[in-house]
């Protein structure tokens, strides 16, 4: 849904690293290099960022659409 606050396995903080990771990777940087740069060493923590999909953005779009529809019918 939204980036977890901590690594599921070891409990280290990863939530605050997501935005930087995502920004740099979408600019074409190699995810491996970005993770190394950010000091994320263990593979448990690395997979948290590598495998994450921020679905909350999609759900918010649905929420917006739902709102528009209900406003239309209310009128």
């Amino acid at each position: 849904m939204i980036i977890p606050v901590r690594c599921f396995t070891c409990g280290s903080l990863i939530g605050d690293k997501w935005e930087e990771f995502m920004r740099r990777v979408s600019q074409g940087e190699d995810p491996k290099k970005v993770l190394d740069d950010m000091g994320i060493k263990r593979y448990c923590c690395r997979r948290m960022l590598l495998s994450h999909v921020e679905i909350i953005d999609e759900i918010l779009r649905l929420e917006e659409a739902r709102r528009k529809v209900s406003e239309k019918y209310r009128r």
Binding site: C10, G15, D16, L60
Partner: protein, 265 residues
């Protein structure tokens, strides 16, 4: 018992504990994980939540935010944890544009307590959505909930002892080539141990040696500890506090034994 520091920085310490035994090393490790107290959000009162995440999820996310506290405060609070409570509040509304609510938006009256990072996303809001809440942070230990554990990675391994029988070694180079941690290297006419601390005791070098010339074992009186703090407390403080707690436990145990003996005599 002897301690030698290998690495140290803001939230990580690596050291060698010499002349000890597995029971002591493991007691220390377990106390660091489960019994050194920290502060974490323990109760959340929602005044308004029109975001798309349930109250429970938001409360859970808030609880997992590591809070940076003064070590002295923790040491003092350890004996009377219920006396301490830190109040946080959060009041955000997305007006004209979407908004990410961060840990940094949490406000508190206590200047000594801060989230370890201000950039942890809590929830995302679209215009019109609102989140208003009060949260209470309390002292607790990892045994009751992982949110109170001061460490993320906290482990030790036995000090590797690598023996190479040079009279048997044919210098085939297998061990050097296959060691996953590049512990060994080949020098002119012998295999040398370049970086013994990096060895994971996997014994793969033994497996690939055609002449049974290399032997690896762990020294169970010497331990390499690796302690990583979540950021709430300094790593050296966590180790010292754990040792203190262990000492207190032993004292309590002795006291109880004495009481029992007195009862029976």
């Amino acid at each position: 018992m002897e301690v030698k520091l290998l690495e140290y920085d803001d939230n990580h310490v690596r050291f060698v504990l010499k002349g000890s035994n597995p029971a002591f090393a493991n007691a220390l490790r377990r106390i660091m994980i489960a019994e050194v107290p920290t502060l974490a959000i323990d109760e959340v009162v929602f005044l308004e939540n029109t975001s798309i995440l349930f109250d429970e999820i938001i409360a859970h996310r808030l609880a997992l935010i590591p809070l940076k506290v003064d070590p002295e405060f923790i040491d003092a609070a350890r004996h009377e944890p219920s006396k301490y409570e830190v109040r946080f509040y959060l009041d955000v509304e997305a007006k004209d544009s979407p908004l990410v609510v961060y840990s940094g938006d949490l406000k508190t009256d206590d200047p000594h307590v801060r989230p370890v990072s201000d950039l942890i996303p809590i929830v995302k809001l679209i215009p019109g959505q609102k989140l208003v809440l009060e949260a209470y942070a309390r002292i607790g230990i990892g045994r009751d909930h992982a949110k109170w554990s001061p460490v993320s990675a906290c482990a030790y391994k036995y000090m590797p002892i690598i023996n190479i029988d040079h009279s048997r070694c044919s210098l085939c180079g297998n061990c050097v080539k296959y060691c996953p941690r590049q512990v060994l290297s080949m020098e002119k006419d012998r295999v040398v141990i370049k970086d013994p601390l990096a060895c994971t005791l996997c014994k793969y070098c033994e497996t690939v040696c055609p002449n049974d010339a290399i032997r690896v074992r762990g020294d169970d009186t010497t331990f390499i500890f690796n302690v990583e703090s979540t950021g709430s407390l300094p790593p050296d403080f966590i180790v010292l506090e754990a040792a203190k707690i262990l000492k207190e436990k032993c004292e309590t145990f002795l006291k109880l034994l004495k009481e029992i003996r007195e009862e029976h005599t």
